[in-house]
């Protein structure tokens, strides 16, 4: 197409003429994308934390001092949903406590006798880390002879499930808001360019320009803007990565994925926005 060069130079002309509002819109788009990236980041890390917490769920079964730990352990191990059972003796329990209370060593040392009970630490199979399963298993164990008390993290499970629902909800809402914002911003910028150039468009058409020649510069403008917004967001994410993840190494940071996603996302939404502007104004 011989007009390709022409379209490119026209687009450049547009951008230079509108550089102020182009800059403004690009920055806003970048901020939107950055916001989204940060939230994706938070989500990923929350899920990782939740996964870790679920994996660490244990049921504690405390024994009477005289209970027959070996046969009890066998019984528990046979229960459906139980992955592993570990016996913690009275002495081990005390050692654990000492460990936990590090700062008050002197207190622990003056203890005359050991008041702590022996216990089983019961780990569950992945499929059984739900509220209903936990209640079933807890009940089964508590009626066994020699078991003084059963304690499980039911409350934790309940809260985790709630957290997951909340995070997913916020994520979807934010995705929609960010997407709409970016489309709106592209639409807005391209629309005002079209209005500013409406005379030029009229004349182009009158001298015989094809529809694609008329439209391409505007589509390109939306694309470039989305792309620029994506690049800026990606650079900010990179800066953030350098500051946080590299130094602290606590959080998961799928940094390259975010980089690419921002740009692709920006381009697509930019195109959609300018397309809407074109179909709305240029009948």
């Amino acid at each position: 197409m011989a007009a390709f060069n022409f379209i490119l130079s026209e687009s450049a002309r547009n951008l230079i003429r509108n550089r102020g509002s182009f800059l403004l819109s690009t920055i806003v788009q970048a901020i939107c994308l950055l916001l989204f990236s940060l939230f994706v980041l938070i989500t990923i890390n929350i899920f990782r934390f939740i996964g870790g917490a679920q994996r660490r769920i244990e049921v504690y079964a405390f024994l009477y001092d005289k209970a027959d730990s070996t046969s009890l352990m066998e019984n528990i191990r046979l229960l459906r949903g139980v992955a592993d059972v570990r016996y913690v003796s009275k002495e081990e329990a005390l050692a654990e406590l000492k460990e936990e209370l590090k700062e008050t060593t002197s207190l622990v040392e003056v203890l005359g006798k050991n008041p702590l009970p022996a216990s089983f630490r019961i780990q569950l199979e992945p499929g059984s880390r739900t509220l209903e399963e936990l209640e079933r298993i807890e009940e089964k164990i508590s009626i066994l002879p020699g078991i003084r008390e059963v304690w499980s993290g039911k409350e934790i499970i309940r809260r985790l499930a709630k957290a997951v629902r909340l995070v997913i909800g916020i994520d979807i809402a934010l995705l929609v808001i960010v997407a709409i914002s970016i489309v709106f911003i592209s639409f807005q910028t391209v629309e005002s360019t079209i209005l500013l150039r409406s005379r030029e468009i009229e004349i182009m058409r009158l001298v015989g320009a094809s529809e694609s020649t008329v439209r391409s510069p505007f589509l390109l403008e939306g694309l470039v803007q989305g792309f620029a917004g994506g690049i800026i967001a990606s650079l900010l994410v990179t800066a953030f990565y350098q500051i946080t993840a590299v130094q602290t190494q606590i959080i998961v940071f799928p940094y390259l994925t975010l980089f690419v996603t921002n740009i692709v996302f920006g381009c697509i939404l930019g195109l959609i926005g300018s397309n809407i502007a074109l179909t709305r104004i240029l009948k």
Binding site: A2, A3, N5, F6, R199, G208, A209, E211
Partner: protein, 221 residues
């Protein structure tokens, strides 16, 4: 080549800018369209380059019925038609040269081949020394000549000129009429709208006279 059959154009449901026009213009003709202000001259031209559609009747150009012409074909139609607009329609932010360049590049003609063509056309109209001037730096007549150059430069099959001498002195107008005659000799159909009845008369060409949207005479006068 251009055929109006029972064409009426009514703006806004009641203002009849043209009523029941029947005309036929053959390839290579030279036709004046005359009439006072508001007679419908510009409207007639706009129907030919499909800027407006007739409210009633059929307009045929190059054998196409413009009412049913597919939208994608319109640009191709317009590439064959050179138009001098009554209000010039120059791009304010481009120089005279760039205005001509724009109109050629927009239809896909590469930059390399158009330079000479532009300077030739501008010289011919006596505005070669103004090629780097922006429209606001040009006098009314000079702007009109740039608009004229833009229509001529693409060697159109049809030239539509709407009041092309309104801002040009009598001598200049005669010169432009000569240029029109020249390109008419090479086979281009020329249709010129003007309120300057005297100019039209003196040229002894076919003259379509309009008044208040009605065709009141058609033929040489």
């Amino acid at each position: 080549m251009i055929e109006f059959s029972d064409v009426s154009k009514i703006y806004g449901n009641f203002w009849a800018a043209l009523s029941d026009i029947n005309i036929k213009i053959d390839q290579g003709e030279f036709v004046f369209v005359t009439g006072p202000t508001g007679a419908g001259k510009t409207t007639l031209l706009r129907l030919i380059y499909r800027d407006e559609l007739p409210t009633k009747g059929i307009v045929k150009v190059f054998g196409h019925n413009l009412t049913t012409l597919r939208k994608k074909i319109i640009p191709e139609l317009r590439r064959q038609i050179g138009i001098v607009f009554q209000d010039f329609k120059l791009l304010y932010e481009r120089t005279a040269y760039e205005n001509l360049e724009f109109s050629l590049r927009v239809i896909g003609i590469p930059k390399s081949v158009i330079k000479k063509k532009i300077s030739d056309t501008m010289e011919r109209l006596g505005i070669g020394h103004k090629s780097d001037s922006y429209p606001f730096e040009l006098s009314g007549g000079e702007q009109q000549k740039v608009s004229l150059a833009r229509a001529l430069i693409k060697d159109p099959l049809i030239l539509l000129a709407d009041e092309p001498t309104g801002n040009i002195d009598p001598d200049g107008a005669a010169e432009i009429l000569n240029i029109f005659r020249e390109i008419n000799y090479t086979g281009t159909t020329v249709i010129m709208a003007t309120h300057n009845t005297k100019l039209a008369k003196s040229s002894r060409k076919r003259c379509i006279a309009l008044d208040k949207g009605n065709l009141i005479s058609d033929g040489s006068i």
